[in-house]
């Protein structure tokens, strides 16, 4: 390798390295702030305490069966609300369902599913205070 090519390689490595460090450094910082703001749910909580209630966590890669099980809302209610048959659609993601049944209104399936869950999710058991230790 000639001296000029060596120099070009070194300069390229340093510039590319700095760009990657800057880009991912900022993203890591942002992700770390997000990460710090979250607390994991209790690891051995009873089933009722593990029911997800935050509909903002619904993504369009999820299937109706997955959402049904995560949010404890029967899949029949979700399919009925969407007005689509469950047969042949259990393994399809919300994005695929949207593409198939409402291609002109992107995102509508996710919104309907969110609204249906909010309207039909079973109430969570009341939170009981832990009695103070003597």
């Amino acid at each position: 390798m000639t001296a000029s090519r060596q120099r070009a390689l070194i300069i390229s490595l340093i510039i590319i390295g700095m760009v990657i460090v800057g880009f991912f450094g900022l993203r890591t910082l942002h992700a770390f702030r997000e990460f710090r703001g979250h607390r994991p749910p209790p690891p051995f909580a009873p089933d009722a305490a593990q029911v997800e209630t935050d509909v903002d966590l619904i993504r369009d890669w999820m299937t109706i069966s997955y959402i049904s099980r995560t949010y404890h809302v029967p899949s029949k209610i979700l399919f009925d609300a969407l007005g689509i048959p469950s047969r042949g659609n259990e393994e399809k993601s919300l994005a695929q369902l949207n593409e198939k049944y409402s291609p002109k209104t992107p995102g509508i399936i996710v919104e309907v599913v969110k609204a249906t869950i909010l309207a039909n999710q079973p109430p969570l058991p009341p939170v009981t205070a832990i009695p103070p230790q003597p």
Binding site: I20, G25, R27, E34, W61, Y66, E91
Partner: protein, 200 residues
């Protein structure tokens, strides 16, 4: 791509996960870390059995790494024919013998972006297969069970963990490139260094 893969994992479970990590280990650019963290969360939710899923993923990724090592090993002849005479190649091979184990270990879970090139280099540079496997198994155990465990711990909030780990991996990769650049620059600027004008 990652969304399509997540849907398939929900539907088909461990076999599709095994396939994804295997293909990823032989060089396909798949979002392996994101998948592993997500699978940990799916295990917690009861969609997948964690011992079976973890074991399948672990075996498949180690097999994939072994295969990419072999690809480097069998490509060795043609690479050596071209580069063996160069001093750079000899130096690179020597330094890989010294640092190869740590490189294999760290690229399994921390700097995953260069895991496949490291596998190929290990195979090409005749890094002992047994040593490669020891570091590989240790690193992949952290990747599968450590990152999967974080996904399990955070459950439906796994995206926050995955986001942090993926970006941190990118940052580490950038640091490796930067340090490599500075090390080369230091060697190049050294007064007695032979600024090679040979055409190797």
């Amino acid at each position: 791509m990652s969304e399509f893969l997540l849907t398939q994992i929900i539907n088909y479970g461990a076999p599709i996960l095994g396939l994804i990590v295997f293909i990823g280990a032989i060089g396909a650019p798949l979002p392996g870390t994101l998948i592993v963290v997500a699978v940990g969360a799916f295990c917690r939710q009861g969609f997948l059995s964690w011992p079976i899923t973890g074991l399948v993923a672990f075996i498949c990724v180690v097999l994939g790494d072994g295969l990419s090592y072999s690809m480097g090993y069998y490509a060795r002849e043609s690479i050596l024919r071209r580069f063996s005479a160069s001093t750079q190649w000899t130096q690179a091979e020597k330094s890989f013998q010294n640092w190869g184990g740590m490189s294999v270990f760290l690229t399994r879970f921390l700097i995953t972006g260069i895991a496949v090139p490291v596998n190929l280099l290990a195979g090409t540079g005749s890094f002992p297969f047994k040593r490669f496997m020891i570091y590989d198994v240790l690193g992949e155990a952290i990747w599968i069970f450590g990152y999967g465990g974080l996904g399990y711990l955070f459950g439906t909030q796994w995206e926050v963990v995955s986001d942090f780990i993926s970006n941190f991996g990118g940052l580490m990769l950038g640091l490796v490139v930067l340090v490599a650049g500075f090390l080369l620059a230091r060697r190049w600027l050294r007064p007695n260094s032979a600024r090679t004008d040979d055409t190797t």
